[in-house]
Subunit: 366 residues, 2 copies
């Protein structure tokens, strides 16, 4: 079954996951899910040269006109300056409330494109075509879109669901290896927090995954997104708690990204270290078996993901950066801790002392 | 019945309209509708000195801490620069996803505050306390919030419904007379487009309204908001057409504001001229009775509102500015035309020639 549904009542949408779907399904997807007006195709300087022309042709084949807008690849494009330019370009292109947007790229383009679409003239429909593994396996589904404030990553955003998501794992052939590895961290996150069977599948399929075997990779993305869609359907706006579990590994992950400065560490690598951290805290506080920590770290190693702190990381700075995390309600430090592989829960009130000890223990062996 | 409900399923909210409600109802409103965290009180340099302290005390009396954020009064504050500062101030104040925002001011503060609340950490709850007649009678209800792009007013926004709206018409005592007059235009708009009885009431009560008679003004606001709430409940996101009727007078209105430059004409004055324009077009194209145009212009005159073009207005520039109006789907020029006092409908394809003739006819006599 190549198609999943994210079930959100009137905002439900399909996620089509198929090797080669950009060729086989784009036209039908545009016809079914986007208005008949003209639109914007937002992409970046890495992805645009590879795929923008064929996507653009595919959309124009349906009789819609599309304006290609290209931003510089990288996190720095999630800025107010770039937003202002993109909104202005859309206005100059004559796009209006009957228009649409297609976001063709990785996490940055998805975040920026989703936010632009959600706010342009109070919202126009959008389609996600994720091109990185991180976006294909996680961020293109669920409607979390945001841009960066000079003081804080992802401070400004909304929940905005796309009309459809088109996932073509064959696009991963052109993804730089480091980005592929980084994306695997989000798949491992879903597995540890929600799905022990997925963890087994990643463990046993690690070799095939790294060789980009079509069936194995497609099945992996499908299963991870199926889990994510289930959680999002229960808790669209991170209000009832289910969705919080998807933040597993992200508290320390975000602190690493913030203290390292944007670009010092990939998001997935930071999440990998964050998962290892959470496992070690859970070992002390929540009865997580030490053998499971070893198993998690073994898988991270097999996937070329880090599970120790980078040498530049400073435990005290990390603790400081964890405090203003926007997932901490009313100042209480909140971590998602695994109970066993496949199950996790939010934990309040982890003693700062425990956090410090675990961070010290995770310093690189020198 | 001082309380109205805006019926939007899970996003329904009450609008409390009562003379003196800022004293009598603020505490209960905060207790019932805002989370127990800390919050921001957004206001401007006109309203803040008059009311921020008492509102702040009222909120803090419930055990919540509140940070007062003051922006310069006027449309120029609906900018990305001011947004960036406000989001940053909220972050520095330690506000998080469990926090809230209270927007205390007129249309600008409501637009800015609603947009800030809707986008800060992907959305925090907010309360509207409108202090201008325009905001009390119209913009505080319905969830349309937006900020300005350098190229286009209100280009960037979302539909974001507040948790509650607290309307205290006694605050109008401190409103500058020109602002009061301007706000009346939106009440007349609702009357002409939706409610002939309200039009009668404004006509017969014009004297009492201008003297700010508590019962007359409170009843006027209640009735106008009741109509607006009904339309918003049918068409929250301006998709099915009902809500379009609230744009009566706004096509030429926005063109006047845009060609005059921000500040050359008050929003309500521009809408008043726009209503007169639409009536005159409807007289030619939609059978609107000439006597009703005369009656509308008579009421505008009685309220000190303009119904001719300002001397600086240029018909050709206005026609040009009407084209990129975001209410024109796919480039077709779209006006809302009255059928009779109390009823209107969207009209497509009004000939440009008719528009030009009517604009020429509306040039100031001189």
């Amino acid at each position: 079954m190549p198609e999943l549904m994210v079930r959100l009542g009137a905002r439900s949408y399909p996620v089509r996951i198929e090797w080669g779907s950009l060729d086989s399904d784009l036209t039908a997807c545009v016809e079914s899910h986007l208005p008949r007006g003209n639109g914007a195709l937002l992409t970046d300087t890495h992805v645009g040269p590879l795929y923008a022309e064929s996507v653009s042709k595919g959309i124009e084949g349906t009789g819609r006109k599309v304006h290609v807008l290209t931003v510089t690849a990288g996190e720095a494009s999630k800025s107010f300056e770039v937003l202002t330019r993109v909104w202005g370009d859309m206005l100059r292109a004559g796009l209006d409330r009957g228009s649409f947007l297609v976001a063709l790229g990785g996490g940055v383009v998805g975040d920026l494109g989703g936010f632009v679409a959600a706010t342009y003239m109070r919202g126009i429909p959008f389609l996600m075509i994720p091109t990185s593994l991180l976006a294909q396996v996680d961020s293109s589904v669920g409607g979390k879109v945001a841009v960066n404030h000079p003081l804080c990553k992802n401070l400004v955003g909304v929940f905005a669901q796309p009309r459809a998501v088109l996932v073509d794992p064959s696009l991963l052939k052109t993804l730089p290896p480091g980005e592929f590895v980084s994306g695997m961290a989000e798949a491992v996150k879903v597995a540890v927090a929600l799905d022990g069977g997925l963890f087994d599948a990643i463990e046993s399929g690690a070799g095939a995954i790294r060789k980009l075997d079509p069936d194995t990779v497609t099945a992996l993305i499908h299963r991870a997104l199926e889990r994510k869609a289930g959680v999002v359907a229960l808790d669209e706006k991170e209000e009832t708690g289910e969705r919080t579990l998807l933040n597993f590994g992200h508290t320390v992950g975000h602190a690493l990204e913030a203290t390292g400065g944007f670009g010092a560490i990939r998001h997935g690598e930071a999440v990998a270290v964050g998962m290892s951290f959470a496992a070690r805290v859970a070992q002390r506080n929540a009865g997580f078996p030490p053998a499971s920590t070893a198993r998690l770290e073994g898988l991270l190693r097999a996937l070329d993901l880090p599970f120790r702190l980078p040498s530049w990381a400073d435990p005290e700075a990390l603790i400081g950066a964890m405090r203003p995390d926007k997932k901490n309600l009313r100042g209480a430090l909140r971590l998602v801790l695994p109970l066993r592989i496949g199950s996790a829960e939010p934990a309040r009130d982890v003693p700062e002392e425990t956090i410090r000890e675990v961070l010290e223990e995770m310093k690189p062996k020198g």
